[in-house]
């Protein structure tokens, strides 16, 4: 009974015994046990034979050329990282040169932050030359873009459900600055509702006939109706 328990314990410890990953006292104990136990010594022998058989099969190898290419790639890939870490290390030097570098690095970082902030919060009207030309909303389509402008929507008044009076006047001199933020987001929303595509950022929106029609159809939007009413008066 006791011997069976010891044999079961040896089965668990066999690999550690093989690799001598146990205290010397334990090794001596198991060696003694193995002298008198044929089951455990056979188990150990078989395990050893299986492993040695595995070790006889030759290992696979990479081609020299492939290996060299891989090494070059690994080294090249980390060249930039190493340069950055070297720079950072030098920044934390306590010498006067280190102080100058620290100062220069701080200045550069500050400038970068200022530039980024400037571009993030830049008022769009700072560049009047870049703003798209104001949109002229007509009640009748211009000859070159018949059926493709807001006027087309005006002509389809009945179908679109637009209010009366929209298509009656000759020209509605409505002008709108498209680089207004609220307008851009309104148009984005409209485009999304029409096309189902979410437009994340669109600073200057090119208004094609389709969008203009959409704008006309969405005359609930205050910025447009207000202007239209004003002009109608």
């Amino acid at each position: 009974m006791q011997s069976k328990l010891i044999c079961e314990e040896f089965e668990r410890k066999l690999w550690q015994f093989m690799d001598r990953e146990m205290p010397d006292v334990e090794i001596v104990f198991w060696e003694r046990h193995l002298h008198g136990c044929t089951i455990c010594s056979t188990r150990l022998q078989e395990a050893g034979e299986t492993l040695s058989l595995y070790e006889t099969i030759p290992m696979e190898d990479l081609e020299e050329e492939t290996f060299n290419r891989m090494v070059s790639k690994a080294v090249k890939k980390n060249r930039f990282n190493r340069a950055v870490s070297k720079l950072l290390d030098s920044l934390f030097e306590t010498t006067s040169a280190g102080f100058i570098r620290k100062f220069a690095f701080g200045g550069l970082a500050f400038s970068a932050v200022v530039i980024i902030l400037f571009f993030m919060y830049k008022p769009e009207n700072l560049h009047p030359g870049k703003t798209p030309s104001p949109v002229e909303v007509r009640s009748s389509p211009p000859a070159e873009s018949k059926g493709n402008s807001i006027a087309a929507a005006g002509n389809n008044d009945d179908a679109s459900g637009l209010g009366t009076g929209w298509g009656k006047s000759e020209v509605v001199p409505v002008k709108y600055e498209w680089n207004d933020k609220s307008t851009s987001s309104a148009i984005r929303q409209m485009k999304r509702s029409i096309t189902g595509i979410r437009i994340k950022k669109e600073r200057y929106i090119r208004l094609d006939g389709f969008t203009l029609q959409a704008i006309a159809l969405r005359r609930k939007m205050q910025w447009l109706t207000a202007d239209i009413d004003k002009s109608a008066m």
């Binding site: 089965e11 668990r12 410890k13 066999l14 690999w15 550690q16 690799d19 990953e21 078989e46 395990a47 034979e49 299986t50 492993l51 058989l53 595995y54 070790e55 006889t56 099969i57 030759p58 290992m59 696979e60 190898d61 990479l62 492939t66 290996f67 060299n68 891989m70 090494v71 070059s72 790639k73 690994a74 080294v75 890939k77 980390n78 990282n81 190493r82």
Partner: protein, 183 residues
């Protein structure tokens, strides 16, 4: 590789010497590639894992602690890289089918050559068919020379579980070889 030479090469690697890095890794090339090939069961994945290992080793060589064995450190990086790739490629279920034999046995005897090839094929099949955990432990023990304690730390399994995996893996190999009359 001798420990002194290895330490010297590691120090040179830290200074950015590419040739030292090449020499250092070259010493473990066969062992490492064989291990990765048997673990992944796919030549392409093994090469990708090898490349990934090189990148990581070169990047982290400055953090290597001399108290640990370099081979253990290298194999733990390789093991993690391979496991990541296996997870990514989801090739776990594929068994290993060797593409073309690349054996160059030292013996010129065609009979022994044939026997070795056949044995290799049988063993590759058996190992490829082992459950993942058992395969991991068996291959790490056989190729990396890591201790079971180190394997248990690397794989995040208790020591007794690791020993159990090793026991079952070898038992399965033994039985399969017996079936094929190889032993």
């Amino acid at each position: 590789m001798e420990k002194i030479l290895e330490d010297l090469l590691i120090e040179k690697c830290r200074q950015g010497e590419h040739s030292a890095f090449r020499e250092l890794v070259k010493a473990y090339r066969r062992q490492l590639y064989s291990y990765l090939l048997r673990l992944t069961g796919d030549r392409m994945t093994a090469e990708d894992a090898f490349q990934e290992t090189l990148i990581k080793v070169w990047k982290a060589i400055g953090k290597y602690d001399h108290k640990d064995r370099f081979s253990s450190w290298l194999f733990s990086i390789a093991h993690n890289a391979a496991m990541d790739l296996i997870r990514k490629n989801n090739i776990r279920k594929n068994f290993f089918h060797p593409e073309e034999p690349e054996l160059q046995p030292s013996e010129s005897n065609p009979y022994s050559e044939c026997v070795v090839n056949e044995l290799k094929e049988i063993l590759d099949r058996i190992i490829g068919g082992l459950p993942e955990k058992q395969k991991e432990v068996f291959l790490l023990r056989e190729h990396s020379g890591m201790s079971f304690k180190e394997i248990s730390e690397l794989t995040g399994q208790p020591l007794n579980t690791v020993l159990g995996h090793m026991h079952y893996a070898v038992d399965k190999i033994k039985r399969a070889l017996r079936k094929k009359n190889a032993i």
